[in-house]
Each structure stands twice: as structure tokens, then as C-alpha cells.
Symmetry: C2
Subunit: 359 residues, 2 copies
């Protein structure tokens, strides 16, 4: 029986469609008998199917932030020019996930391990079978979406003309693995988690709160907090303004993560920890990145504490046809949420330039 | 009844002496009826008592690391020249602490809140009453020891000739507060913690382990893990070499923090979160730092993720007679442990130069 959770509804996330791609065998050996991908599209596919852009989603995210923050008329990701397909990653709460599946074989704690490569293979099948898309003008994603973007460029080089991984790496670092581990431990250590067999996500509120508290440290930056940048972030409608930084942390990030499903976060976190394009080349990262033929802008965020520019730059150097373009945000990794017009202008400038490049 | 804990013994930490400074009233309103400070000294106080150096300790630390790593013949902190007094901070497990006190009024969960200013006042009283020391040639400390160093320079400017805060700030930042909060939550969320009334620290092993896992992220650096720097860190005597980074994390940092007392870590963590010299000047940081007359080298570590150079530099700019000298360590904040001869050479060069400065 799927669990009720208002966060994972079209009312909260915006419209999307479910597409079944059938029985799907996973790299780790598990099977999803009827894999449903939650997909949102913007714009119209042109006759020669040359204007398609794919956006895979990040940890805990959905298509909503892309729709609200990055896609729009006059923007680089303009639905008047492009057919933009945002595919929610497997296990994110909208696509087939531990709490929403009707299949008892994979429900809740029985959900199988999914890898970045599984998402990319599923997306490739979806684009081909549902939309007849064989090449992509651009793949762009942030964080875990960047991991999927890298994987796309390595695994299907002939299909990816341009790629823009924002704030994410091709091969996850041990430091990032350990960071993600603390996020997952915050959840699994909550007695209410009950080994993944809770009957409502609200039973895991304490663990989800601690999870959010770790995000407040690693997801943002010392300057975000010190300058009280958060005072400019609107409080939810009908609520009083933030009193202080702890109040902001409680009513913004704690409230956000406490609305999510714990098993969904665990499924995504396990996947995130193991993102690694070198799985395609027997562990040889340089060989994997050497396969890339896409024109690529690698876009780390300057204050990012777990996908820092240095880690992204090291991979960019191994990637032919790529350039490093560092983005700037006082919000660190959470700059991805688009708190700042200046950050969004930078993203638009880079994506606009990349899309304008003949390939 | 004090709890047994082998970590807090002279056998593990090296020799020290307990000095009682009597009844001690705390800034937050609590009282310690018989405050015992655990003190280790090196060298001999000269006749005019002009060669005294004070070292306050960091979170979870004792005098041991200073003795093993920073103090020695031919080093800047040379016992042949200086009388070096390392005072273990209140609540660190050796000085009066929740688990080791014989006073039921302050045992375990009843331990009162202690502030950085309390430590500094207690140390001043100790130095005066026990050793007759009225001026200090140098105060030097790392992390929470740096917080105490800043507090000394602001609170007793006439007594501090030179000061060297390493990897720590005068006023804790909100980001650092939130980081420390995650450390504390890892412990208090363990059901074995039992509201602070566990009967052995081993009952809180899971929480202490998660606490250590957060340290592995924020205490080190992405390069420490990526370059496998830890392979050069010796495994404990009689144990096999580290297999991989998770094995190192388990047998090094988890093992270390799991040997400590949970209430001691909480007492220190609460204190750390609220370090703020501006309490001496009605909240005016610039006024507080403007009081400093010591010659001061401010020594952040380049890769430090929670006392980053930028935060230290901002305070240094407000401090007359100070210079910023950035230290370099691939181990980030835990560079303080002295993993690298190059880091220790830098520290020695700066402290040697500072001690050679006429004031």
C-alpha cells in the first residue's frame, strides 16, 4: 500500500506525467517490474527532433525547482525554442519509489539499490520509446543531476551534443561519500525509522530534522549565515518573518526535509555515494572522460563544500572539449535553488553560450 | 559516583596534576563547589616569572597532543627556555567534568553550562594563586584553545604579551554554531544517551560513532580523503594496516571518539558554540578586539571548513598589533593533530618569530 505524502503530489510539485518503461533490470541485480518515470515537459519537439534538452533531477528534488527557477521565456532554457524534458530520478518520490510503489516486492525497506547508470539507461529508453528522441541538444543537471549528466556524456557520447554538469562530479569523492553517509545515518538512527518500515514519514521527523541540520552546514556557506542572507528569503505565506538563524533553519530547511519520505532520501543517497563514470571503463576515470564528445561546460559553484571547484576542475581537465566555468553563490551548493538573480544570470549566460555553440 | 573511563587517565593522556581553585561561580549562574583543573607543566619558571606560556585545550582534547606534537627541545615551545602550562578546559574529562565529579549536584546531566570566559577566569586564578604568574609571554591554543586565547587577550590585555590563536575565532559564527549542533545531536539522539544518565560511555557508542562520522567530513578535507593521505597515518600497535577510507574512519576517528565521555563532549560543545569576546563589550566585536594590546599572530589553517581563513581574517583586521599568518594542512582543521612535518615547521616558525618579538 503506497504511503500518503502530500509533498509528492502535482499540487505541490507542479504537473507531470507518469510513463511506464516496463520491466527494468538494475545494475546491482534488482528488478523493478514496472518502472514509472515522472516526467515534465516544456515546449514542443521540432520536426527533426533536434531541439530536445534533458534535465535529470538532484537529491531530494523534483522537476519543480527547474520549472520555477531555470525554465522560462527569454531564459537560456526557453520553451519557445526547446523541448525540455525533466525526468525525476528513480526513487525521488514521484518516479517509482519505496513509498509510492504498489509492488510489495520493492516497497519500503525492500526497494532495490539503484545506480546513476540505471537512471541514465531508463532516461535513454524513455526518450527513444516515448518521444523518438535520438540526440540531445543539451543535457544539464545540478548535483545528482550533474552526476547523471556526466554519465550520459560518457555512456551515450553519440547522443549528447552538449552537456552542462552544475555542482556535481563524474566520480564521487570519498569526502562526499562520507558526507552523504552522515545524512543517511541521521535518518536510519531514528527509532521511528523502524528499519524502513515506518507507517508515516512523520514518525521519522526527528531523524529528518537532524538530516536537515547537517544540510544547513554543508549545503550552504559560512557567509550565507554570517551575512544573514536568509533574511531576504521569504517566509512561507501566512507565517511570521524569520526571527533568527535557528528559526530560519527550523521553519525553512527542517520543514522542507521533514515533508519528504525517508526511504526516498535513502535510495537517492545510496545512489549519490556511488556515482562513478569509471564503472564504464573498468575503473579508469581518464578513459571514461576521454570518451566524451559533447561540448561541455563544467559549472561548479565557488563556495560548494562537497562538490568543490577543485574536485570539478580535476575532472574537467581530463575531459576533451570542455571548459571550466565557475559559478558564484553565497548559498554554496544550495545556490542551485536560485536564491540570487546574479547566480541565475551566470547560469543563463553559460547555458546560452553553450547552446549557441555549433557542434 | 564518578564513571570509569580509561581514556581520562594519566596512562592514556600523560602525567598531569589536579589543582583545586575552590568554589567557582559560572557566568551562566551555576556553581562548581570545588573546581579542579588538570594541569601539565613543562620546563621551569624563571626568577622574574617572565617566561610563562599558557596553552588552553581544544574540544575533546587534553594536554597530551600538545606534549606529544608541539612541545619539545629545539621547538618553538621549548621547555629549556619556557615554563609551559597546559590547562585542560573545564568539562574536558580531566578537569572537573560531568562524569568524573564526586559532587552529585553537578554530576552527569546536572553539569552546569560553562563558558569560554569561565575557563579564562579560572586559568587566570590558577596561574596567579598556584604559580604566582602575573604576565604571560604567550598564550597559544588551537580551535577552542584559540577561542580561549582570544578571550584572554581581550579580558586580560595587561597580562598577555603575545597571543597566537590557531584555527579558531574570537566570535563563533552561526555556521560554526550549526555545525557544532550536528555533533551534539548525533550524541543526544542516541537512545543509549538516556538524557545524559547513561551508566557507561559504551552505551552511547552508536551516537559517538555518528559524531565521529560528522568530524570526518568537517574536520578534514576533500584532499585528505582523495589523496589517501590517511595511508601514511600509522594503525594502532598490533592492528592491521587500514584497508580503505571507511576502515580508517572506523578504526581511527570512530575508535577515538567512542572512547570519550558523551557529557564531556556536550559540555565542551555548548561552550564552543557560544564563544564570543564581544560579551565583554556589550556585543561590540570591534570594541572587544580593539582592547587587545598583545602582539598577535592569527593562524588559521587554509583548508579549515568551520574556522575558515576568511572568518579569522575578518577578526584579525579588527585587531591592533596583529598579523594574519595562514597555515597549510591537507588535513584541514585536524591539521592541528600534527600529521605533517611541514605544518609543524610552519607553526614553529611563526611561534618562534612571535616569541622573539620585543613587546
Amino acid at each position: 500500500m503506497p504511503l500518503e505524502n502530500a509533498f509528492y503530489t502535482a499540487e505541490m510539485q507542479g504537473d507531470y506525467q507518469l510513463h511506464s518503461i516496463g520491466r527494468f533490470e538494475l545494475e546491482e541485480g534488482g528488478v523493478i517490474e514496472d518502472l514509472q518515470l515522472a516526467v515534465a515537459t516544456y515546449g514542443t519537439l521540432n520536426a527533426d527532433k533536434s531541439n530536445a534538452i534533458l534535465i535529470p533531477t538532484w537529491f531530494s528534488g523534483t522537476h519543480a525547482t527547474w520549472e520555477e527557477v531555470y525554465i522560462g521565456p527569454g531564459r537560456a532554457l526557453d520553451p519557445a525554442k526547446y523541448f525540455i524534458v525533466v525526468v525525476n530520478q528513480i526513487g525521488n518520490g514521484l518516479s517509482t519509489s519505496p513509498h509510492n510503489t504498489g509492488d510489495p516486492a520493492i516497497a519500503m525497506s525492500k526497494f532495490p539499490h539503484v545506480r546513476i547508470g540505471d537512471d541514465v539507461r531508463a532516461q535513454e529508453q524513455l526518450l527513444r520509446e516515448v518521444f523518438g528522441i535520438e540526440t540531445l541538444a543539451l543535457v544539464v543537471g545540478g548535483s545528482m543531476g550533474a552526476q547523471q549528466t556526466w554519465e550520459w556524456a560518457v555512456r551515450f557520447p553519440e547522443k549528447v551534443l552538449r552537456a552542462a554538469p552544475i555542482a556535481g562530479t563524474a566520480q564521487n569523492t570519498p569526502h562526499d561519500f562520507l558526507f552523504t553517509q552522515t545524512l543517511l545515518e541521521a535518518i536510519t538512527s531514528d527509532p521511528g525509522f523502524a528499519g524502513g518500515e515506518y507507517s508515516s514519514h512523520t514518525e521519522v521527523a526527528a531523524g529528518l530534522g537532524r538530516h536537515a541540520d547537517i544540510w544547513a552546514v554543508m549545503g550552504l556557506s559560512t557567509d550565507f549565515w554570517k551575512t544573514e542572507f536568509w533574511r531576504g528569503v521569504p517566509a512561507p505565506e501566512g507565517e511570521e518573518p524569520w526571527r533568527d538563524f535557528e528559526d530560519f533553519q527550523g521553519r525553512f530547511f527542517r520543514a522542507l526535509f521533514q515533508s519528504m519520505d525517508p526511504n526516498a532520501l535513502l535510495a537517492m543517497g545510496w545512489k549519490w555515494q556511488r556515482g562513478d563514470v569509471a564503472r564504464n571503463t573498468g575503473g579508469d576515470l581518464a578513459a571514461a572522460l576521454g570518451r566524451i564528445t559533447a561540448r561541455m561546460f563544467v559549472l561548479p559553484i565557488d563556495r560548494d563544500m562537497f562538490f568543490p571547484p577543485a574536485d570539478c576542475a580535476a575532472e574537467q581537465k581530463l575531459t576533451p572539449g570542455s571548459e571550466l566555468r565557475v559559478l558564484h553563490s553565497i548559498a554554496g551548493h544550495f545556490g542551485l535553488f536560485g536564491f540570487e538573480p546574479s547566480y541565475l544570470a551566470e547560469v543563463d549566460a553559460h547555458l546560452g553560450e553553450l547552446l549557441g555553440t555549433q557542434v
